[in-house]
């Protein structure tokens, strides 16, 4: 085992590490990759990061390089004399105080301008949405149109979006990595965040401040649509809930819903006006269930209705969760699911 | 050889690099830390000033004249503390006892005043959990009161020890250190009194 081989391995490792960062920065296939921005906000952040990253690489390579060279060159060999007792060098001290200071200045200036940039008021044409975070789902309210949805935020492409973030219970954090940086959702405060999406598509987001047992499952989606699609969506959401055909399975589901679920959920145009859970007026148009990590499917919906806590297990003693309805028969669950899916 | 060494070692046990005794340095260092402690408590109070959403509010229940008197009592106790130390340093143990007891009594009087004030407030409907004012007020002043209480125990211990000849002119530093603590607690009260009672709400 010679020190040379060790240091060679170390050098190899260092370069490997650098290579890994590059790979991480470029590879796709990760729906929440900050390295793949799709809105101005996230892009400004990434553009700020890249140069700082490269400066960091340089700093690291210098430091690590000196270490490696020193260890190879100055390794003790038998019979070596005691080295010259070098106590310090003021010029060097000044140099290596100033050099980092300059690098930092180069980082600080764009940092400060970007802070200001991201906080800039988006202007009047912006779409304002109220975002209400709560254990463990998100409500989105469009004040201009009165539309309310859960865990799915629809916004138009190319138009600034201005989000007003509020919390119903504890601190959460609103985060869609490809669109914008985070902003905490703090009870008693209204924080804001702005972004302008530049491509149609679906963007995955998730709560980023630890908020209890189901923090991991406090997910949501931002659906960026063309202006027309978005307007159409708003129109449709403003309709009262679809009324099922009398005698149909959906009607049966509605009846069951009104006995079991109306205390917590609202379906506009019906007597269900509960405020505890998400507004389900247009649940049939959703692609997610309760911000779960699992994808949407009718089976999953049934499972949710039948026993929500088994899908999103909370902490014992907490009351805000949707309860299990294990007493409902399969047929009844089918009926409720059919009703909810009909609520386009 | 061994005698010389022992003597040197003994002398060494009392040598300090700064000339300040360990105990005194300890007390000063502790007080610096305690400053931050009270600083954080007062900061909490100041941050929450005027942010209670329900009453009772300070101006409804504070009895400034009463509290001024009890603050004066505490201030007076600093004076008696100085007198106690001065007496001991001059070797007058009996006089010392009188003043140290007086200091402890004044401290107790202050605590009595605080007890009265607390019961009075709770009769006006201010509890620990009533509002932010209640929480931050009671915890701040209560912790200060606890400091005073510990100080009283300390003073009384010194008083008692003086009868066993353990508090003397040549170790008056013991009393001096207790005095540092006592004056500190006193000064903290002046700060609290200013910020909590006197600042217009």
């Amino acid at each position: 085992m010679t020190g040379l081989r060790r240091t060679a391995r170390r050098a190899l490792f260092a370069s490997l590490a650098v290579a890994l960062v590059l790979v991480g920065g470029c590879v796709g296939g990760t729906p929440q990759a900050a390295s793949d921005p799709a809105a101005d906000n996230a892009r400004k952040i990434w553009d700020l990061f890249m140069p700082i990253f490269w400066m960091s690489v340089v700093v690291f390579v210098i430091v690590q390089g000196i270490i490696i060279v020193a260890i190879i060159r100055f390794r003790r060999r038998p019979g070596d004399p005691v080295p010259h007792a070098m106590h310090g060098n003021t010029k060097l001290e000044i140099a290596w105080t100033l050099a980092p200071a300059l690098i930092l200045a180069a980082i600080a200036v764009p940092t400060i301008t970007t802070i200001a940039d991201l906080a800039r008021n988006p202007g009047d044409e912006a779409l304002t949405v109220r975002v209400i975070g709560q254990q463990w789902w998100w409500a989105f309210e469009y004040p201009d149109s009165g539309v309310v949805t859960a865990d799915e935020l629809h916004v138009p492409v190319g138009r600034p979006v201005h989000l007003e973030l509020e919390s119903k219970d504890i601190i959460h954090s609103f985060w869609v990595p490809r669109l914008a940086g985070k902003q905490d959702v703090v009870p008693g405060r209204t924080n804001t965040i702005n972004f302008t999406a530049d491509a149609v598509g679906e963007y995955s987001g998730q709560c980023a401040e630890f908020c209890g047992a189901q923090h991991a499952n406090m997910k949501f989606r931002v659906i960026v649509q063309t202006e027309e699609e978005f307007e159409a969506w708003l129109q449709q959401q403003q309709q009262p809930a679809v009324e099922p055909q009398p005698g149909s399975i959906e009607a049966q589901g509605k009846e069951l819903f009104m006995t079991n679920c109306r205390g917590c959920h609202t379906i506009q145009g019906t007597e269900a006006e509960g405020k505890v859970g998400p507004d389900l007026t247009h649940f049939g148009s959703r692609q997610t269930i309760a911000g779960l990590v699992v994808p949407y499917s009718t089976d999953n919906l049934k499972q949710w209705i039948h026993n929500a806590p088994s899908v999103k297990p909370g902490q014992p003693g907490r009351s805000i969760q949707m309860p299990a309805f294990t007493a409902l028969t399969d047929d009844e669950v089918n009926a409720i699911a059919a009703y909810l899916e009909s609520l386009k | 050889m061994s005698h010389a060494n022992a003597a040197a070692a003994h002398a060494d046990a009392h040598r300090t690099s700064t000339g300040l005794s360990h105990n005194k340095l300890l007390m000063w260092t502790f007080l610096a830390s305690d400053c931050m402690f009270f600083g954080s408590l007062i900061m909490t109070y100041m941050v929450y000033r005027g942010r209670s959403v329900t009453g009772p509010y300070p101006d409804e229940i504070f009895n400034i004249p009463f509290t001024s008197v009890s603050a004066a009592v505490l201030l007076l106790s600093s004076l008696t503390m100085v007198l106690a130390l001065a007496a001991l340093q001059r070797g007058k143990v009996k006089v010392f006892r009188v003043w140290i007891l007086a200091t402890a009594l004044l401290g107790t009087l202050f605590l009595g005043g605080q007890y009265y004030e607390f019961t009075e407030f709770s009769q006006h409907g201010l509890g620990l959990g009533t509002n932010l004012f209640g929480s931050s007020f009671f915890v701040l002043t209560g912790i200060h009161g606890t400091h005073v209480g510990l100080g009283i125990i300390w003073l009384l211990t010194l008083f008692a020890l003086s009868f066993r000849g353990l508090v003397r002119q040549d170790n008056a530093e013991k009393v001096e250190i207790a005095g540092l603590y006592w004056h500190f607690v006193d000064i903290v009260w002046i700060v609290i009194f200013t910020f909590v009672y006197l600042l217009p709400y």
């Binding site: 985070k182 709560c207 | 070692a9």
Partner: protein
């Protein structure tokens, strides 16, 4: 020599298991207390590491249900709390205790019984936290336990009462021992040892202790307020009453940020002792090392809000705190470069302590640089609460603090126990750990880039995080192997290791001038110091090495005044912990009993003869 030392310490004439135990319970010898800290915190390293392995096992694959969500939350909270409060801090305390008096040429700390008290409070406080793990009601709101998740509505159960009481008790221990070290270092330096001759490790101890004294009270107040909210219905963090959960964050981080320098400054100390010894060169730029340490401590008080960039403090505070945070890179850089200057031109002896020191330089730099990235506020909008942050702080905490501590263990173990550790095994351990460490924590940067939030107990396949998570888990098990190797190394060394000479590394500072392990009284003659590397200079000038190396006689030692053993510190600590522990269950009678025990033992303490 060691024999006569023992006679001094021992109170019972006949050596029995009981009297040995008693001698440990009543010890006020800084070296024994140091050993107690040492083994207690190594035990907690296994606990904290085991919790880390649970985390890594759960996250190894997507949709894993190895741990339930609530268990996971308890596990990561306790992993963080244990590693910080029960591993790194007390391991540092172990070395403060053992080596500060030796380095400054003192016979003990300024307040030996207060020192014992600190240890026992630490032990009982840690047992309170450990009990919560065993009872499966451990704190589960993260190591910084943000309000108002921690109030009674959202956290029923005792979990967070253990947090508030356990950490409060531990805090008292830290305050007590910091007071002790400040006084010791300022007041007990050997004759001739001016502040500018104090070995850097002792300097860093002084700064660390000062930081603790000034930073910890803020957290204590936060914990008091939390306890009042939870136990007595106060409304400090209750938004419905106007309370502001963000106040907790301020109180926490005003402590929490200085805390990270409390964790790393001692590490800077170890490195500054190890490098000169293994390069046979004096530390490069000693005064700059001192000043930069002070600068870091002072700046450290003005940056806490960099943990709160996304809370909504406003653009101006964010810009200010971001900039002040970056400034800390300057004094830290000064340290790094001075260490490089020490290496450069030296005569470098490759052995385990040096390898860990050099590993520290590389790994800590990576962690420091990612810290600077966080300090760039907009970047932190993205990086905060992701695995990028987890990567940052493991690079500075493990690659920094713990690597340095491992180096210190290999460096000072021979002095503490009189036996050498196996250097070959140590080097193998180092390489396993270096590779395992980077496998575990480097990919966390990439996961941060890929948008993986921290503190999630599960994730799905679609997120594309599975591969790196698996790699990390493999790395974590490698680290486990490394830790076990070290445990094995210590174990065999204690049983049958090669006896250590007084000065195995050709050292420079005073601790190497006395036998390994040192006699109870440390220095038969208190050395008179005339330079920074006192022993080295004496060796160079072929001057008399202090008497003890030549082996003083027991006779000499008899005359040395040593504080007598006492059980009172332990009883006092027990009272304090009993009061704290009973608060968790609102057992007021027991709280009263605990406080009474505390009070009476303190009075008894002050009546005990001499200190």
């Amino acid at each position: 020599m060691a024999q006569s030392a023992f006679t001094l310490e021992r109170s019972a004439p006949q050596e029995t298991a009981l009297s040995r135990l008693w001698s440990w319970l009543t010890t006020v010898d800084h070296k024994r207390i140091g050993k107690l800290y040492f083994f207690t915190s190594l035990f907690y390293l296994l606990v904290g590491g085991l919790l880390a392995l649970l985390i890594r096992t759960q996250l190894a694959v997507p949709n894993n249900d190895f741990l339930s969500p609530d268990t996971y939350n308890q596990v990561f909270t306790m992993h963080g709390a244990v590693m910080i409060f029960l591993v790194v801090m007390p391991l540092n305390a172990a070395f403060f205790n053992y080596f500060v008096p030796l380095l400054i040429g003192a016979r003990d700390v300024a307040f030996p019984r207060l020192n014992a008290f600190s240890y026992w409070v630490f032990l009982f406080g840690s047992l309170l936290l450990a009990a919560s793990i065993v009872l499966r009601t451990a704190p589960n709101a993260g190591w910084f336990a943000y309000a108002n998740l921690t109030n009674n509505t959202f956290s029923p159960g005792h979990n967070l009462d253990y947090y508030s009481m356990g950490l409060q008790v531990l805090g008292i221990s830290s305050i007590a021992s910091s007071l002790n070290f400040v006084v010791t270092i300022i007041n007990m330096r050997a004759p001739g040892m001016t502040m500018m001759r104090v070995p850097i490790f002792a300097w860093m101890t002084l700064i660390t202790s000062g930081l603790l004294l000034l930073a910890l009270p803020s957290f204590s107040v936060g914990l008091i307020e939390l306890a009042f909210d939870r136990l007595f219905g106060a409304v400090f963090f209750e938004p419905s009453a106007g309370g502001d959960p963000v106040l907790w964050q301020h109180l926490f981080w005003i402590f929490g940020h200085p805390e990270v320098y409390i964790l790393i400054l001692p590490a800077f100390g170890y490195i500054s002792e190890i490098l000169p010894t293994f390069t046979r060169k004096p530390l490069f730029g000693y005064p700059f090392m001192v000043y930069s340490g002070i600068a870091i401590a002072i700046l450290g008080f003005g940056v806490w809000a960099h943990h709160m960039f996304t809370v909504g403090l406003g653009t101006v505070p964010n810009a200010v705190f971001g900039t002040t945070t970056m400034l800390i890179a300057i004094p830290t850089g000064v340290k790094i470069f001075n260490w490089l200057g020490t290496l450069w031109g030296g005569s470098i002896r490759i052995s385990t302590p040096l390898l860990f020191a050099v590993g520290f330089l590389g790994m800590f730099t990576i962690g420091g640089i990612s810290g600077v990235m966080h300090a760039s506020v907009p970047i932190d909008y993205w990086q905060t609460d992701t695995y990028f942050v987890v990567a940052h702080f493991h690079y500075v905490l493990f690659g920094g603090a713990l690597f340095a501590i491992f180096g210190a263990i290999y460096y000072w173990f021979p002095k503490m126990f009189g036996r050498m550790l196996n250097d070959k095994l140590g080097q193998v351990q180092f390489w396993i750990m270096l590779v395992g460490f980077n496998l575990t924590f480097f990919p966390m940067h990439l996961l941060g880039i890929d948008g993986m939030p921290r503190r999630i107990y599960t994730y799905t396949e679609e997120m594309g995080w599975a591969t790196w998570n698996l790699v990390e888990t493999i790395g974590a098990y490698m680290l486990g192997v490394g830790v076990l190797l070290m445990a094995y190394n210590m174990f065999t060394s204690l049983r049958s290791g090669q006896p250590a000479p007084a000065d195995p590394w050709d050292g420079r500072t005073l601790e190497w001038s006395i036998p390994s392990p040192p006699p109870v009284y440390n220095f038969a003659e208190v050395p008179v110091v005339s330079s920074r590397d006192e022993l080295w200079e004496r060796k160079l000038k072929k001057q008399a090495v202090p008497a003890a190396v030549k082996g003083g006689s027991g006779e000499e030692a008899e005359g040395i005044h040593l504080p007598p053993p006492s059980i009172v510190p332990m009883i006092a600590a027990f009272g304090l912990a009993l009061a704290g522990g009973s608060m968790v269950f609102k057992e007021w009678i027991l709280v009263g009993i605990g406080l009474a025990i505390l009070l009476f033992s303190i009075i008894a303490w002050s009546l005990e003869p001499n200190e």
